[in-house]
């Protein structure tokens, strides 16, 4: 968000600079035009004088010679002014053309675009103003890249440092739960709250880390031959405790004899768990969630369907964008970060697959992903 604001500001600055350059060009043109008018006015005065002189022609021959001389002078003067003017245009034209070219390059992202400063004082000033602006833009872009790297580094370090204490909190809470028969119901409830919140923190941390990696182009996968059926069963097992606690039905229908996938099992499992967790969190108690896995052409298709409240079209359109959450996301039950689907999309695409969603209010949701089978990749 801050990046966008900065970009808009830079763009505004750039447009202002261009506007300023146009203004100074207009000033230059006005000055030239003024010069021309003075010459014409002077010419007109001289011409009137000549006319008066010609009236005296009959009276004074000597005066007529003078009038001819003045007429010739007038023509010569006007021609000179015209030549001077066209010369001025030519002097201005080359630097302006260069500016137009450099502005175009700058607009296309070549921040090293500069012009040769020269020509009239005005175009020279315009040229150096342009170079100064381009230099400033380039410096700002460098600074922005440096800040981006710092941000990535910070997220990585923070994630690393937070993970150890979280491991302890979660681990010891789990240890307590192993002896739940010796705890009072109140104590069990307390430990469950600790565990729920720890899991939420871990999820948040993982999502932020993935997002930082994705931004830095460092979201990586380690593909290995993977049985899609085992992968889906593993993801279903992970979420089953939560769906059972909400009386939700969770069924997996897996076509037998599926080909192996060349995918990073941890990452695809992450995508599946995310889709299942969304279905669980956005559906009311007693809802039904269904996972279907089958072969479609050279791909394996996995669908996660639910009979929940569905998604209105205006939200469905942006569902794979960051920080987009369904309405239910505003209720306390939903523990997500609004990043899960954006990350899922990046991950599926890294595998050469596709992800999509179909839904309508009152008609449930159907999220589907397709991954290329190993033989075809």
């Amino acid at each position: 968000m801050i990046g966008v604001a900065r970009f808009l500001q830079q763009r505004q600055d750039y447009e202002n600079a261009i506007a300023r350059s146009y203004q100074s060009e207009i000033v230059a043109r006005n000055r030239l035009a003024q010069g021309k008018n003075e010459a014409v006015a002077r010419g007109r005065v001289v011409a009137e004088q000549a006319e008066r002189n010609s009236l005296q022609e009959d009276i004074d021959d000597e005066t007529r010679d003078t009038a001819l001389l003045v007429g010739a002078g007038l023509i010569a003067g006007l021609t000179g002014a015209a030549l001077l003017f066209s010369g001025l245009i030519a002097t201005m034209r080359r630097p302006l053309e260069e500016l137009v070219d450099a502005s175009g390059r700058l607009a296309e992202g070549d921040l090293s675009a500069r012009v040769q400063v020269g020509g009239l004082a005005e175009t020279a000033a315009l040229g150096s103003a342009f170079n100064e602006m381009a230099g400033e833009l380039q410096a700002q872009a460098g600074e922005r890249d440096r800040l981006d790297r710092m941000k990535d580094e910070f997220v990585l370090t923070a994630s690393h440092e937070l993970r150890s204490p979280l491991t302890s909190v979660q681990g010891f809470a789990e240890l307590l739960m192993l002896e739940r028969e010796r705890l009072s119901p109140k104590q069990v409830e307390t430990v469950e709250i600790i565990l729920d919140n720890t899991r939420h923190l871990v999820r948040l941390l993982n999502d932020l880390l993935d997002l930082a990696r994705s931004d830095a182009g460092r979201l990586t996968i380690r593909p290995a031959p993977t049985d899609p059926a085992a992968l889906v069963k593993d993801a279903v097992r992970t979420i089953r405790g939560q769906t059972e606690a909400s009386d939700q039905q969770l069924v997996a229908e897996i076509e037998p004899g599926l080909p192996e996938l060349l995918v990073d099992p941890d990452r695809i499992r992450q995508v599946l768990v995310n889709l299942l967790a969304n279905a669980h969190e956005y559906c009311p108690e007693g809802a039904s969630i269904r996972v279907e896995v089958k072969r479609v052409g050279a791909d394996v298709e996995i669908r996660v369907k639910d009979d929940g409240p569905g998604i209105p079209p205006e939200q469905l359109e942006h569902i794979f964008e960051r920080f987009t959450r369904g309405d239910a996301g505003l209720t306390q039950r939903v523990g997500g970060t609004g990043l899960g689907l954006a990350i899922s999309k990046s991950l599926v695409e890294l595998h050469g697959g596709t992800i999509g969603a179909e839904s309508a209010p009152g008609e449930g949701s159907d999220f589907h992903l397709r991954l290329p089978a190993e033989a075809s990749s």
């Binding site: 993970r163 150890s164 979280l166 491991t167 302890s168 681990g171 240890l175 720890t198 941890d266």
Partner: protein, 121 residues
């Protein structure tokens, strides 16, 4: 009895791992840095069934200790524990023959099944 050597620079995490692993019936030795790992292995004559090493420890890291041990010809299976999800992406060359990665927070069910697979037979 299956004998494990675990290393982590956090005493708390060592306590957690040791408790859970002993509850599963393993014999557990602990170390807090890479040098202690090497010393413990020398002392035991490389008799451990599995090493569970934290990738990043102050002083000698788990990866560095493993490099030295592999150079000495110690072939004990190793699981690397790392805070990063993509533990294996950096600093884990294939010649170190790492058997698997465990990320923090630790999913103990998965850890136990990995250990079972690696120490079977």
């Amino acid at each position: 009895m299956t004998r494990l050597l675990i290393a982590d620079d956090s005493e708390t995490i060592l306590l957690l791992l040791k408790t859970r692993l002993e509850m599963e019936g393993y014999e557990v030795e602990t170390a807090t840095d890479g040098q202690e790992v090497i010393d413990a292995i020398h002392a035991a004559g490389a008799e451990h069934d599995l090493l569970l090493l934290d990738a990043m420890m102050p002083g000698k890291s788990g990866i560095e200790a493993l490099r030295e041990l592999r150079a000495e010809g110690v072939e004990t299976p190793v699981l690397i524990v790392s805070a990063h999800q993509d533990a294996g992406d950096a600093g884990s060359p294939t010649e170190l023959e790492v058997s698997g990665y465990v990320t923090k927070p630790i999913d103990f069910d998965r850890l136990f099944s990995s250990i079972k697979d690696l120490t079977a037979g």
